[in-house]
Symmetry: C2
Subunit: 341 residues, 2 copies
DNA sequence: CTGAAAGCGCTTACAG
DNA sequence: CTGAAAGCGCTTACAG
């Protein structure tokens, strides 16, 4: 019933090859036949089959989206979902649609990302990730398939990555705290398996020392993940171990929000008793009391850049390029500054 | 280079048909050849091509995800993204992956949803929607492609939909307000083009009358959408028009959050001066001060049910079924109750 | 500027 | 229980 390239060719009185060339904008076609064929395609509402084209060309115009890592990163993750939102827009603009791989246990090719990319002939993929990345990801990374990583350093020859400057953001936080007069600084990180968290911690400690302050290990706590509960527990551990620092930088906003909840329960005021700065600038920052100061990761820019980098990786033999995005300190109420946004 | 069904057949010394049957779990194959072929597939790391299979069968094992409506619903929408999250999990469990259609202007098939579904041979699709739905959606709805709508009533013979009981939720809100002693009740809705908002308003007014109270039209404001700014403006309009009601139900949490901001600016306390109840139970409700009471939509259940309904629509000639999910009142601090969650 | 034909990698009657 | 062959709807050298 459905009209295909053969139907169009017959109706136009031309060959299938000619129709194909017209669809693909070949130049060596007379204007006459081109307009005639185009007209018939419009009349009949012809839609070319993607699977046939993919089978013939090995290109699907599809980008695979992979949530990697054992830790449950999914659509509800406030940072990654915003990055993906902007990635999707830019990728759509470039003419691609997005294929989200399910990773449920029941799935046949579950966990074998490279196999699934080949199965669907995706033209490239974006990998967003929590901690504890599976070996299957690096198999993909080193394959011929173009990949772009967000918050994960891909090293393959057809791979690239993009992330915020995690080292520098910590410097900005310490500098701010220092200027506010705080001298005793603490840090709440995620698990030690997170490179992101570790880089932020390293940057934080280095900055503390560069300002001539002392690092007190009792004020450095690493939780299990980037979520709220870990921040809550971190504060409780700090309180149990020692007196509190004057100011704390948390490696995510959710950690910071958990931390503020714990402080409140201990009758410690934010920022008067303990100043807090989070990281990411998720929506929730605006709704907490006090409103949470944070390091803004430019999620829109990260998403758009990821799309453009991937596009270049797919369409040119461009050198793999890795981009670091400048983070920005956003002052609200939780960090003891008089400044408002 | 890459191994295909022919390679496998040759290596196993059988025909291509036989290999195909084994992949598709046909029963009329001897155990011997089956194990031999399976073994070779494993050794070679054979991955069947989805496009070839789709071309031959017209089934892609892909579900199209469509964000419909002129109003910008995207990944950052706190309600729909949670529904999609649970939908994706359940759909993955059922063996499907998700294809997200871009809807950027530059895209060739932009706006023609049916064409895009046919282009990719999706087995079915899920439509989530804001207001002002395009005509192209109902073309899809009435096509042969199985569709499931979330918060939109699809009427086609291979379509179904799922939503919360929008009428009943309003009754629950009014009942609660009534029991708390409030007699002057207001409502903040979205645009009049939103069926969802209109149903909630209708239910609200009917409930008010069934409790023998009066409806004051000055206390019923419809904004432009379900977002924060509309709620903010709605309160300003109410204040400009009349004295304030004692309690207000907002058709979304974001409207409620905007409303609370406006009330605060006018020195009106929540809930002492005006009690507020929102709708959806998004994450942010927990972080506002006071914490926002709300109608919880069971997003996890809605997503899972949508997946199961769609699966049935695809795999059986099941009657189209439309499901209404029971909403639940969640009491926090903003509605004047002594109860805590 | 146009067309015939092989090929992409599967599935599916059909014959044996 | 197994296989030969046609077909799905495109693209791409190649010949003219």
């Amino acid at each position: 019933m459905s009209v295909n390239i053969k139907t169009i060719a017959k109706m136009a009185g031309v060959s299938v090859s000619t129709v194909s060339k017209i669809m693909n904008n070949y130049s060596d076609i007379s204007e006459d036949t081109r307009t005639k064929v185009l007209e018939i395609m419009k009349q009949t509402g012809y839609v070319p089959s993607n699977s046939a084209k993919t089978l013939a060309t090995k290109k699907s115009n599809l980008i695979g989206v992979i949530f990697a890592g054992k830790l449950n990163i999914d659509f509800t993750h406030p940072f990654f979902i915003e990055v993906l939102n902007s990635f999707k827009k830019q990728m759509g603009f470039l003419g691609y649609d997005l294929l989200f791989f399910s990773n449920e246990k029941s799935h046949a090719l579950d966990g074998d990302y490279l196999a699934r990319c080949r199965h669907f002939n995706v033209d490239g993929c974006i990998i967003v990730t929590g901690q504890q990345v599976e070996p299957s990801i690096s198999e993909l990374d080193y394959s011929e398939i173009p990949c772009i990583g967000v918050d994960i350093e891909l090293k393959g020859r057809s791979s690239g990555y993009i992330m915020s400057d995690n080292y520098k953001m910590s410097y900005k936080v310490v500098e701010h705290f220092y200027l506010q007069g705080y001298r005793e600084l603490g840090y709440i990180g995620s698990t030690l398996e997170s490179d992101i968290s570790n880089t932020r911690e390293k940057g934080y400690k280095d900055a503390i020392e560069s300002f001539g302050l002392a690092v007190n290990e009792n004020w450095f706590i690493n939780g299990d993940n980037f979520f709220e509960e870990s921040g809550y527990e971190a504060i409780n551990k700090m309180i149990a171990a020692d007196r509190m620092p004057q100011a704390v930088f948390a490696a995510s906003d959710l950690l910071a929000i958990g931390a503020m909840r714990a402080l409140k329960e201990h009758q410690l005021r934010v920022p008067q008793d303990v100043a807090i700065i989070g990281c990411d600038d998720i929506e929730a920052c605006k709704y907490t009391t006090p409103a949470l100061s944070t390091i803004r990761q430019n999620k829109d820019k990260i998403g758009r850049l990821a799309a453009s980098l991937l596009f270049d990786l797919i369409n040119t033999q461009s050198e793999t390029s890795n981009v670091v995005v400048e983070p920005e300190l956003v002052i609200r109420e939780s960090c003891g500054s008089r400044l408002k946004e």
